[in-house]
């Protein structure tokens, strides 16, 4: 196993650990989001999740494997101006919440909270936020606001597009998981970013 293969499987393993605990619809959505970043990773991840699903119960010790609930943060105020309304999804980098401005009602955003335990220096996070702010593309949800939380973890507020969920869109077309990953990686950035805020 060469170094890049090893690194690939380490990333698959990390993503697997996040997705295995999610209910099926959220899992498919997150898988599609991973596919947008790295189609090979998503394809291997999908295959392993399918394998785990098929083998669930085969081991006599599977009974204890139950999903733990996602953290509840509804009502929390972020950056002094966004109120979290509900969890949209969880990914390897953090959580994406539906949120609204406290000073400007009816303006919904998708707010991404980067995981607190990721060692991202504040300077790097700010630089990324500046780059994002300059990004303007019809297929990428626009960055509305960004900042660094009290605990030092970055957050991003993205334009919230209440379109069809990527999973529903795929279900209508009866796509299997690898196809979903491929489809998403082929530049359906708008559909993905509305859910994942990057």
């Amino acid at each position: 196993m060469d170094a890049s293969t090893r690194e690939h499987w380490r990333r698959v393993r990390e993503a697997f650990g996040v997705l295995i605990d999610l209910p099926a619809p959220q899992r498919a959505a997150q898988l599609a989001a991973f596919g947008a970043e790295d189609a090979t990773l998503a394809a291997d991840l999908a295959a392993l999740l399918a394998q785990a699903e098929a083998g669930a119960g085969a081991d006599p010790d599977d009974a204890g494997a139950t999903a733990e609930p996602a953290p509840r943060r509804a009502g929390t105020i972020v950056g002094g101006r966004f109120r979290l309304l509900g969890l949209l999804g969880i990914g390897g980098m953090g959580e994406v919440h539906l949120a609204e401005r406290t000073d400007e009602l009816d303006r919904k955003v998708a707010l991404k909270l980067v995981r607190g335990d990721l060692p991202i220096p504040a300077a790097r996070a700010r630089r990324e936020q500046q780059i994002l702010a300059r990004l303007s593309h019809p297929h990428i949800a626009a960055l509305v606001d960004a900042g660094i939380g009290e605990a030092g973890q970055p957050w991003f507020a993205m334009e919230y597009v209440d379109g069809a969920r990527i999973t529903d869109w795929c279900d209508r077309r009866a796509l299997d998981l690898p196809a979903r990953a491929r489809d998403c990686s082929r530049g359906s950035a708008a559909r993905c970013s509305s859910r994942t805020a990057i």
Partner: protein, 186 residues
């Protein structure tokens, strides 16, 4: 279970002299000891209880691993046992396969006798190689597979022995199994 120390010593000597039957009688005793120790660990409040290997385990470790075996704590003890049991069962399967034509060595009777949760029709040689690869992704994944498949410990016991959150070990175990399943199909 209640073999006297001299019987055990005799069994070890006969096994080392190349008598295959001796190992078959010795291993159930080793497993009984290992599982009793795991049960004691689970029953305790303190996490890193220092369990001394029984005289039997100590003898087997010394004979299998050569002189200076210095078991430091229960984590080390079980990791050592897991690796040792893997070697024993894979070697046994290899010998059994070499006797048959084509060398199609698979599960050995011992796996059934010891009630190990290794899936049926598992090719132990391929499993052995796949665990080596898994070890390169993360050594902990390989240790979990050894303790689950080759020592037969529960995931909960493994979490306690490794002093890692139970959920984490369940996730790792699910990943390891899926990964092994796919890599052994090829």
């Amino acid at each position: 279970m209640s073999a006297s120390p001299s019987e055990v010593t005799q069994l070890i000597q006969r096994w080392q002299a190349g008598e295959a039957g001796a190992l078959d009688r010795l291993l159930p005793l080793v497993y009984a000891d290992l599982r009793a120790m795991a049960a004691r660990l689970l029953g305790r409040e303190q996490r890193q209880a220092t369990l001394q290997p029984t005289a039997l385990l100590h003898d087997v470790f010394v004979r299998m691993l050569g002189g200076g075996v210095d078991i430091q704590d229960s984590t080390h003890l079980f990791n050592t046992a897991g690796r040792m049991m893997r070697n024993v069962l894979v070697d046994r399967a290899r010998e059994a396969g070499a006797e048959k034509r084509g060398g199609d060595w698979q599960r050995v009777d011992l796996v059934d006798a010891l009630q190990l949760p290794i899936p049926e029709r598992t090719h132990l040689g391929l499993l052995d190689e796949a665990i080596d690869e898994l070890e390169q992704i993360d050594a902990r994944l390989a240790r979990i597979v050894e303790l689950r498949y080759f020592v037969g410990l529960s995931v909960e016991a493994i979490a306690r022995i490794m002093d890692v959150d139970k959920r984490t070990i369940y996730r790792d175990w699910a990943f390891a199994r899926a990964w092994l399943g796919r890599h052994m199909q090829r």
